[in-house]
């Protein structure tokens, strides 16, 4: 029983990471008042290019670099359509997501000549880190230590961003742009520049989420690998109104649901029901939130 609990908690951290990274990325665009739903697509291209780099160059670092570059490219595309061509942000987001799905599915077939999933020993996963001091305290050490390093980085990013958003010049400019771009313009800040920066940061963080999916969680790429995690991260952002530290908390809750689902699979629950849990959890959390809001209004 204790083993099981430890296992669940360990898996919780791991499943929370990609959702959290994508949500942190979307947090920037949320504060800049861009209705960005392209995290799903950015994550998917990130996952693909991470595997691409890792497969052909035999190095996870090059994979990560490729993924980040692809995230930048997707962000640039989004910015080009939404900010310069003045397309509807929602529609652009759907277009970008479809583009990512189409491109990765096509490239998987044309580059690697496989359908469905690419599993290969040539894909080098992210290195795992042991946390030096925590290792000594047994139950905690076995939960926290030995994850891919990106996990520690993303938890650190969440905490740093909490400070950056609420206590720095950039954070202030970002939130001001979201509140009223005209007013920020009169204060000498270029709102287009801030929006561009927010989109780029979203691209980078979302593609890192993809890296974690394809090189950290497992070492493979499969069609439509992100499988709705981008949408869940969007739900998280809307629920917590963008606050980074709350994103961290809520992502952990989602991670918990996902890992419980995966564990239940070993106890005669059909795998399909296990796979459903994160989505049901999202609906459930939204329901609780709606109920509370309703009560407060009365």
């Amino acid at each position: 029983m204790i083993d099981l609990t430890l296992h669940i908690l360990r898996a919780t951290l791991s499943s929370a990471t990609p959702v959290m990274l994508a949500a942190l990325g979307g947090m920037f665009t949320y504060y800049a008042n861009i209705f960005n739903i392209a995290m799903e697509g950015m994550m998917l291209t990130g996952a693909f290019f991470a595997v691409y780099g890792s497969y052909f160059f035999g190095d996870w670092a090059i994979g990560t670099l490729f993924a980040v570059l692809s995230g930048l490219l997707m962000a640039a595309l989004f910015a080009f359509f939404a900010i310069y061509l003045r397309c509807d942000e929602f529609i652009t987001g759907i277009g970008i997501n479809m583009l990512a799905l189409g491109w990765t599915t096509y490239a998987l077939r044309s580059t690697f000549n496989v359908k469905g999933a690419l599993i290969s020993a040539k894909i080098v996963p992210l290195p795992k880190w042991r946390v030096p001091i925590l290792d000594l305290f047994e139950p905690i050490g076995s939960i926290i230590s030995g994850h891919p390093f990106l996990l520690y980085l993303s938890f650190a990013i969440a905490v740093v961003l909490e400070i950056v958003i609420f206590n720095s010049r950039f954070g202030l400019h970002l939130r001001a742009t979201g509140e009223d771009p005209e007013a920020t313009k009169s204060a000498g800040i270029n709102p287009i520049k801030i929006k561009l920066l927010a989109t780029v940061l979203c691209g980078i963080l979302s593609s890192l989420a993809g890296v974690y999916l394809s090189l950290g969680y497992v070492a493979l790429f499969s069609e439509n690998m992100s499988n709705g995690r981008g949408w869940i991260s969007l739900a998280i952002i809307i629920l917590v109104k963008g606050r980074p530290i709350s994103i961290l908390g809520l992502s952990l809750i989602f991670g918990l649901f996902e890992s419980i689902g995966l564990i239940l699979q070993h106890y005669k629950l059909a795998p399909q029901f296990a796979a459903m849990t994160p989505y049901i959890a999202t609906l459930f959390v939204l329901y609780l939130y709606g109920k509370r809001k309703r009560k407060m209004e009365w």
């Binding site: 003045r86 583009l99 799905l101 998987l108 044309s110 949408w231 059909a270 399909q272 459903m276």
Partner: protein
């Protein structure tokens, strides 16, 4: 004039998309001309190809109209995928066990499938109405839940043990929808639904109210539209259309049974079609046909050239972005130029 302008913009943007894709095909070391020729031959080249294109386009027209009506009413129903699957699985299961004559069975099964889709959308409608949950996230989540749920049904309780992949049993032969010279009756149902939807949106009071809600919800509310009940109705109706698409896919398609992956990408294709068509029901129909040509031609393209059929998914996304980008850029910048010249004139007069 307005129609002419819209058609012109559509043609320009589709040409842009094809040029962009030609460059990409070139970088993949294939010949774009051969690819497009194969797309044409297998999508439109003969009556056999054309009728098969119309069959392919049928589910796209349904999901497209479903998305178009929803978006035009300001209801962001993105759950076409899940609703379609629920409709398909219901029809597929009932089609195995139901025992009534063919003339009654086919319409009953189709309508029941539609209602299954409406029910699935109804969950989102209920959550929206009673708990103010955004239908856009709840329908998305229901897509995933629906997908896994239908796969579960086809894998465990209703599994056909003789099939090679998880699938339900073949529906009774009497419920197969007839073909006319290769063109399935399902297509005519799609045309009927198009007329019905057009009538609903343009001729009825509720359709008018829905369109007003699409322009501005608050204004519609103040103007006396029953916003809550209208959006519930729109969700149910668009869910019904998607469910019907799934039901006809079973009754009139080629598989006649529910199997994993039968919903393909119809849900998102429908959303993309509605977006390109600017939520206009008639335009949605024609873009549905256009996507049908691409999808059907893709099979031939893979056959003739070295480009895999997955390329079409990518091409579709490029078309969406090009059409939307070109349209809004033309609108925005022509407006900007017009106001600038007007400003110059006013300044010059003073």
């Amino acid at each position: 004039m307005r129609v002419f302008r819209r058609v012109a913009i559509s043609i320009i943007s589709i040409l842009t998309a094809f040029v962009v894709c030609a460059i990409l095909i070139r970088t993949q070391k294939s010949s774009p001309i051969e690819v497009y020729r194969a797309l044409y031959t297998y999508g439109l080249g003969s009556w056999a190809a054309f009728s098969s294109t119309l069959n392919t386009a049928t589910p796209l027209i349904f999901t497209g109209i479903s998305a178009a009506i929803a978006f035009a009413s300001g209801v962001v129903n993105l759950g076409q995928h899940g609703q379609l699957l629920m409709g398909a699985v219901t029809t597929a299961i009932l089609g195995v066990y139901l025992n009534i004559p063919s003339w009654l069975g086919i319409p009953v099964l189709a309508v029941v499938g539609g209602f299954a889709g409406a029910l699935w959308a109804g969950i989102a409608a209920m959550l929206k109405r009673h708990y103010e949950m955004d239908e856009f996230i709840s329908t998305l989540m229901l897509n995933f839940i629906g997908e896994y749920f239908t796969i579960y049904l086809a894998t465990y309780p209703f599994l056909d043990r003789k099939a090679y992949v998880p699938a339900t049993r073949l529906i009774k032969r009497v419920y197969f929808m007839p073909d006319f010279n290769g063109l399935n009756v399902a297509f005519f149902v799609a045309v009927f639904v198009l007329v019905l939807s057009f009538w609903y949106m343009k001729m009825t009071r509720q359709g008018y109210e829905s369109r007003m809600m699409g322009y501005n919800v608050e204004f519609a509310r103040v103007g006396g539209c029953a916003v809550e009940s209208n959006s519930t109705f729109v969700l149910l109706f668009t869910g019904f259309l998607s469910g019907l698409a799934g039901a006809l896919l079973i009754l009139g398609g080629t598989q006649h049974r529910f199997m994993k992956g039968i919903g393909a990408n119809f849900g998102w294709d429908g959303v993309m079609i509605a977006i390109i068509a600017n939520n206009n029901v008639i335009e949605t129909f024609f873009y549905g046909l256009f996507f049908g040509i691409l999808k059907n031609g893709a099979i031939g393209m893979e056959f003739e050239t070295s480009v895999p059929s997955e390329f079409i998914l990518f091409l579709e996304a490029i078309i969406v972005l090009c059409v939307v980008g070109t349209r809004s850029a033309i609108e925005y910048y022509s407006q900007a130029i017009r106001s600038l010249t007007k400003l110059r004139k006013v300044v010059a007069e003073k």
